[in-house]
Assembly symmetry: C2
Amino acid sequence: MDVKHLCLGVLSSGPASGYDIKKHFESSFKHFFVAGYGSIYPALSRLLEQGYVEVERLQQDRLPDKKIYCITGAGRKAFQTALENSVPRHKIRSEFLAMMHFSHLLPAAQVCDALDVHLSELQQLRDNLEQAAADKKLSAHGGDFSRHYSLVSTKALIDFVLGEKSKFIANSSPNIAVKA
Amino acid sequence: MDVKHLCLGVLSSGPASGYDIKKHFESSFKHFFVAGYGSIYPALSRLLEQGYVEVERLQQDRLPDKKIYCITGAGRKAFQTALENSVPRHKIRSEFLAMMHFSHLLPAAQVCDALDVHLSELQQLRDNLEQAAADKKLSAHGGDFSRHYSLVSTKALIDFVLGEKSKFIANSSPNIAVKA
DNA sequence: CACGGCATGTAATAAGTTACATGATTTA
DNA sequence: TAAATCATGTAACTTATTACATGCCGTG
C-alpha cells in the first residue's frame, strides 16, 4: 500500500483530479497516511502509464486545465489485488518521542514547548476526527473504523500528555511554571 | 532526527558496536523509530567520515572483529544541536488502517485476520513496554515518557480493537464466528 | 544438524520530501 | 492588498528497504 494504491482507492469511488485526491488525503487519510503533491502527481502519471487510470482534460475558464482521472477495470483489479496482498503494517516514526527520550539533554523550556506543540497537534487531530465523524458523508463504515481507532488513541494521549505536562512544570523552576 | 542522530544519541551514553546499537534500537526505540542494519551501518560510516565518532577495532577469538564506536566532542555537539533544532514531528503510516478504510472491498475473513494480526502486535508491544518499565535500567526518565506514551495509546487501542472485533464477528456470517 | 545469535557490510532499488516554477480567482 | 484556494507539475535530493554476501559459535 503506497501512494499509488491509495490514489486508486480514492478513484475507486469516482473520478477525481490530482488536486481532488490531495484534498481527499487531507480529509480522510491524514491520520494514517500523509502525501503531498510531490508524491500524488508522479503516482498518477505512473498509474496512467500502467493503464490503471484514464484521463480526461477539462478546460476551464481562466483556470488551468483540470485533468480528471478515472479508474479502469485493470485498475480496479490491481487495487483489489494490492488490498488482498497487503500486510497490515502500522508504523510510527516520531521525532517528538525521540526528543523526549533525550529530554535530559535539553533545557526544560524547550521540552515544555515540545510538549505544548505536540499537545495542540493532538487536540487538532481530535477535533478534525470528531468533525469528520459528525459529517457522516465520509462513512463508508470502513472509514469509521480508522477514524475511531485514531480518535481512541488521540484522546488517551491528550489526557496523558496533559498530566505529564503538569508534573513536568511542578518539577521545574518557577520561571517556567509562570510561562505555562 | 534520523538514524544517524539516533546512533549519536545511543553513543552519547557510551561506546558501542553497530550490532549493539541495533539491539538498542530494538529494545528502546522500536515503538517510535525502526531501523535495520541496512541503515545503521551506513549511518555509522558517515558519522565516521564527519568526525562525529571514532572507531576502535577489537579482535575476538573466532568471531569477526568488533568495531567499537565512540562519540567525539564534535559528535556530542552535533547531537545537541540536532536535538535543539529538531521539530517534534510525529508521523503514522498505517497500511493496516488503509486496509480497514477499504474493508468493504475485502472478504470478511481477511478483515478478521488483519484485526487479529494487528491485535497481537499491539499486545506484544504492550508486553514489551511493560517489561521494559519493569527492568528499570533503561529509565533515564526521558525513556520513561516515551514508553508510557506508547503504553497509554497501545492499551486504549487494544480495548478498542477487541470491542470492534466482537462487533464485526457478530455482524458476519456464522462460519466466521466459528473461526474466531 | 539445524536454528538462533554474533558480527559486518554492500548494492540495487524504491520511495518520499522539498523546493522550485507558474498563475488566475476569490475572499476577507 | 494580502492570503487562501484552485491547479499542475518537475528536479534534485535524501532516505530507507530489501536482498545479497559471509562465516563462526553455542544449544537443543
